[in-house]
Amino acid sequence: MKVSALASGGMILSFGWLTGCKPSAKEMLEMPKEWFELNSYIKIGENGVVTLYSANPEFGSNVKTSMPMILADELDVDWKNVIVEQADFFPERFNRQFTGGSQGIRQGWKPLRTAGSTARQMLVNAAAQTWNVPANEITTEAGMLYHKASGKLAGYGEMASIAAKLEVPKDVPLKEIKDFKIIGNSKKNVDGKSIVTGKSLFGIDYKKEGMLIAMIAHPPFGMQVKSVDDSEARSMPGIKDVFVIETLRDDYERNGFDTTTFTKLVVVVGSSTWEVLNAKKSLKIEWENIQTKKITVQGWTGKQEVTIPAGLESTIGHKERMVEMSKKKANVLRKDGDVELAFKKAVKTLERTYYAPHLAHNTMEPVNCFAHVTADGAEIYGPTQAPEFIMRTLVARLGLPKEKIHIKLARMGGGFGLRAYCHHMVEAAVISQKVNAPIKMIYTREDDMTYGIYRPTYTAMYRAALDKDNNLIAFHVKGGGIPEHAVHANRFPAGAVDNYLAEGWQLDSNITIGAFRAPRSNFIAGAEQSFLDELAELAGKDPIDFRLELFERAKNNPVGKDNDYDVDRYAGVLKLVREKAKWGEAGSKASRGVAAYFCHNTYVAEVVDLTIENNKPVIQNVVAAVDCGIVVNPDAAANMGEGGIVDGIGNALFGELTFVDGVPEKNNFHQYKMIRQKEAPKAIEVHFVQNDKEPTGLGEPLFPPVFAAVANALYKATGKRFYNQPFAKELKKDIDLG
């Protein structure tokens, strides 16, 4: 860690090219005359005001508040004196500027605590030197340094200039968990005031002098641009140019987050959004079918050749191919014992198949990006979860060294995985380079919803066998998907059953997919936990007791070695939800369903209570029990949990994107049903297991199990099992059929 005192403004000055985004200084806080930087994350003014950098991009999971809270606690400052600033993308200064996988808090925990405690030690050392007393006699509290014996005291601001010049101490001890003052005490969203007053925070809000507006047109899946008649568009008011760009060539070796979707786009550039929108509508574009192509992708698991097949795909065709594939042999992912032999000995068996369609992310802020590319460098500002994944491609495509490409991180109007794929940054940069001007590219909602990078369509067949005592003796899951399956072979109930078989198959597609809130888990949790509910019923057992028996088995006598869960924590959330939801107690008129799941390092159990009113499900209450270790920002954590539950219920009941001949059948919210205020649960309770374990994330884990809790509650309400998402469609079908 290199430490130096910087003049006023510090690193903000070095990135001064974006003047539209001023630091959001807290009201009433007097700004210091000078800042002293203690490390990449922390600078302190001579008056004791502290600036903490939030390195990760913020898409609504509260990292911009919660992660600086960790710094502040170890630094031992008063939260009232803290200003949080969004850092730019700066990998030399910050660890892992990536928001996704529910990993922000988990992977930031140690580095942030270390950065905070090290800076605190430097302030202590500065005071020790100044007062000529031993450092270990100096204590700190809320931004103050004390030496009891001599009665000396000073604010951090008074020592900051000296501290900033000191050697960086190594192996500074971290606080005891019991001594946390900020961690565990709810702090309000640092951007709350800016959000409720409509300040410019998002990429789409950005404006620069001389900036033009760009929009794109893309083909249906399986097609590409053949020709464009832009004669009308060119003559329309405000239009500067119409052209076709190629963002990535087919022979460019991609990483897993580079797009393979639409690499040739028709672009319209003009002075205002409305003018460009009208010109875009006037384009007469002829599309042609693509040929099958192979793309090399360097993913996390190595280099892979991915086939993009020719053809215009439809949902009906996908379903037919899924049925065919499910009859064929699949890849064995894990095998314990002998499932087939166990089935022969079974007294009862159950086999069920589950299905889920593609889903669109539908972030409320449509895809957009600002770029200004010149021979001297590139400025890029837009919503991104993963700037590090796109830098290599920007370097290759723009022909600029990475030192000359500056990515600034906008607050994102939702992410949910979509914005890990930064094709929009490449597109905006290529457009700016072409027109030699600053541009802001904006997708219409229709462009956004039909662009791909969807949650894949999945299926899974489950089979289970019970012996005469209703013990689970065999469990078989065979999952498939287009273009990936969702089976996690080492997850529960692997380890809890002697005979276990997990298989997977997948089919190529030219409809592109991507991470979508709790990838794979967002389907397989619903399928698995619905199946276990039905299996418990077949076994004549309470669904919670049935699961707890399996956990007991996995604890006392586990099968296999690679079981990917902690039995006690998994069982713990089920026990907590049982208590908090008063499971098994009479009195409620609502129908109840339960589900539990472990993914993204966090354990969750949920109970949904619903009624059917006017043929529609009304979610009366949801009780969640969560074990994510230490809860950094409790109220924000509850908010995140509530959001995951609401989003999960919405997608379970309504989420669906279907295709005909490569064309999505929905392109805006009049067709794509999202959960709204009227369908939201009437109440949600999120309970956290209290323990001292290192914290894990919350953006994803509450989302997957609620699909099954809803399905299981719907079964109780209607007497019918729900195997196919979206459930509201199935419910309607049942009612229509009488």
Binding site: G192, K193, K199, R445
Partner: protein
């Protein structure tokens, strides 16, 4: 192109634009008032909600030529310093996650409370049903509206 004199947040503003331009883009592109958000362009998501003479209105399909003398209020003009009871309640309940839809939610909520100071749960649900939030903050939105109603 034509010139329009608009009353926005209590100030007269003049713009020279295509008469069909939705007021959303006049606010965002021409007047720098970016608090009003683009979400769908077809009055389906509520992110663009403004007040037109005090009534919640979707600005993304409202041509500038249709405004006439009507008074426009945007999130920037809802209160002088961000202390409208609805804004305060939003902060108290720490409603936002990503925050993108929240200006529209607040504008819908403020219009509701103006016409119905003590709405029932059902009235809140009806009034707010046009405002989408993919983050799923609906329960906090409802709770904040109740807090604002009791302020």
């Amino acid at each position: 192109m034509a010139t329009f004199n608009l009353n926005i947040n209590g100030k007269q503003q003049s713009v020279d634009v295509d008469p069909k331009t939705p007021i959303l883009w006049v606010l965002r592109d021409h007047l720098g008032l970016v608090g009003t958000k683009f979400g769908c362009g077809m009055a389906q998501c509520g992110a663009c909600t403004i007040h037109l003479d005090g009534t919640a209105t979707r600005s993304c399909i409202l041509p500038v030529s249709s405004i006439g003398e009507k008074k426009i209020t945007t999130i920037e003009g809802l209160s002088e310093v961000g202390d409208h009871p609805v804004q305060k309640a939003w902060l108290e309940h720490d409603v936002p996650q990503c925050g993108y839809c929240q200006a529209g939610q607040i504008m819908s909520a403020a219009a509701l409370l103006k016409s119905n100071p003590k709405p029932s749960d059902e009235e809140i649900e009806n009034a707010m049903n046009g405002n989408l939030c993919r983050c799923g903050t609906y329960l906090r939105i409802k709770a904040a509206i109740k807090t604002a109603a009791n302020a």
